[in-house]
Symmetry: C2
Subunit: 355 residues, 2 copies
């Protein structure tokens, strides 16, 4: 299936991918502006479903790497990612058939659309997470033994770095140190693979799902219905907490935005207190010491007033929020999946309890 994306789709996508981005993946406003501009410039963006991929096609995921909070000050021009794609094709002598996203997120769902439009490449709607995660090996491709390397990295100054690591954990380590040196963010391409491997390892349809989420919530508003209810329904999400952010710790550490928010319950959660730990993405929701939800399930913070998802870099004291949880893709609930992105990997001494 091929779907030509129009400007409203991008608005809807920006909303939906921020929901699935679980706080990370970049600011949806920045991502949206980049893509709407190229559409208004007359470029076409054609989104292909995963079943359009042939065994011998070559797929190249492109993304932004780093602490998303950096991007607010270091706006991408977009050409960084186009350069990464061109460098890849030229240096690796591989003709890329499809650009793809690596994860869901305000910027990381939209960069592939931008690169596709600028390079006349098809974009395929299958990514490696179905959500966002902070580290490079946290993708389903890693579970299927696809190599992240060569990892091609660009910065906005024109520096290029290519990592050819012995494994994906080392790929993450080396690329992270370069990202920090680049100033905190980098534009990367990685996990290139053939169509056969891609179809097995990918999570299909995250962009289409994001657009659906955005569209349903937008329509609810137009029809005077409750947007939050519409969101719960279309995203198959569970309402986990409501309250006001009363404490916020945040630091950029080792190239990640890390921190914790504390939420004092209101409405039906009045008298209760919850906290969310994050590392670019929201990792774990607790009430006092009790774990309510954790990675790899999706935890997203929604602005109570506007019903919009809030990325971790926009969390702030005093904000009234609702917290929702969404089941992760079944690929993450396997043994290797949980070893890669379960709470223990992030240093929490708890077992994963599926939502």
């Amino acid at each position: 299936m091929v779907r030509k994306l129009v400007s409203t789709d991008i608005d809807d996508l920006a909303y939906g991918c921020a929901v699935l981005g679980t706080g990370g993946g970049g600011d949806p406003h920045i991502g949206k502006l980049m893509v709407k501009q190229v559409i208004s410039d007359g470029k076409e963006i054609n989104l292909y479903s995963v079943d359009e991929v042939d065994d011998k096609d070559w797929i190249l995921p492109v993304a932004m790497m780093g602490a998303p909070v950096i991007m607010i000050e270091k706006l991408p021009s977009g050409t960084e990612s186009v350069n990464a794609m061109n460098f890849f094709e030229h240096e690796m002598k591989k003709k890329i058939s499809f650009i793809s996203p690596i994860e869901a997120g305000g910027v990381n769902s939209t960069i592939p659309l931008f690169v596709g439009a600028m390079t006349n490449k098809r974009v395929v709607d299958g990514d490696g997470e179905g959500r966002a995660f902070p580290e490079l090996q946290m993708v389903t491709y890693h579970l299927y033994d696809i190599n992240a390397s060569p990892i091609v990295m660009y910065d906005e100054k024109g520096n290029v770095n290519v990592v050819q690591a012995v494994n994906n954990i080392w790929g993450e380590k080396i690329a992270r140190s370069v990202t920090i040196r680049f100033g905190g963010s980098a534009y990367i391409s990685l996990y290139y693979c053939d169509g056969e491997s891609y179809r097995k390892a990918t999570i299909p349809g995250t962009i289409a799902k994001s657009i659906d989420i955005g569209q349903r919530v937008r329509e609810a508003k137009k029809e005077g219905k409750d947007q939050f209810d519409a969101l719960l329904d279309v995203a198959e999400a569970k309402h986990l907490f409501t309250g006001k952010i009363v404490d916020l710790e945040r630091k950029v550490e080792k190239g990640f935005a890390r921190g914790r928010i504390t939420i004092d319950g209101t409405d039906e959660f009045s008298g209760r207190t919850a906290s969310i730990d994050f590392q670019n993405e929201n990792l774990i929701l607790r009430e006092e010491e009790k774990v309510i939800a954790s990675v790899p399930d999706l935890i997203t913070v929604i602005d109570s007033e506007s019903s919009t998802p809030i990325t971790t870099e926009h969390l702030r004291y005093g904000l009234r929020v609702k917290v929702i949880g969404i089941k992760c893709d079944s690929k993450w609930r396997t043994k290797k999946g949980l070893e890669t992105v379960g709470p223990r990997y992030f240093g929490y001494d708890i077992n994963y309890k599926p939502l």
Copy 2:
């Protein structure tokens, strides 16, 4: 001129290049063992003088990057540098005519000989420093606008990283962060250039000079003459201080071995106190506040008892030492040379006073 190096030459070289390495460039014992092994395995090492290089030859310098103190614990197998050379030829599609050193030093003078022997490449005796310096842009090639990139980096685990930086300062920054991530040391190739540029920008004859230094000091010992006098004579060095190390500060910081030694004067320097600051290499020698010698001139610490040069990683409390100074190459005494490696670049608020 072509000179076939024999095992004694390597002993002499190890001594002499440690003198010219001014404390850095790696442990001469490790470098010596690597090369003597390949000679005893029957490999030939032919050292070419710079005038043997044709305009259209391609020259590739190879080296170890990082804090030399790391290498004592993380012994190189030698194949890391061979891999860097092979990767370069394969990926960059350039047939390398000559391997060259980038600087003088116990390891960095010998690695090119090792790589030459292992890959059947000729080795040319022209490097970019005529001494050792801690950062990648501190080479005469930089003064002549030769690009350090692509910088190919290998570690002992098999990770590869290629930096294509917008300038040599960025090349240094990015490669340094990767070196730190690699565990503190990396094996690199950089500043590849054609023969015409190379002949203009290089400092010729540092290996031959190192062998001469080693040979003269060795012969002095055999003839029962004073080795230190022989060293001063053959290296055209000035005797700057004699004493005992009474204080030593050292840390590995941002990928460099940084520190300071304090020396209480003895013999004709009795009652006086000197200090040497180092960053991998010895940077500045002072008596109280008075600068006696500084970069880019060479400052080398010699063990008083054995008359052998001491690299910064082997400095220790209680050691009796003599400090010598040697004039740097005239390329360093230019305006751009001093901007690149003069005392002010290293953060000292003093003007360079030539030895």
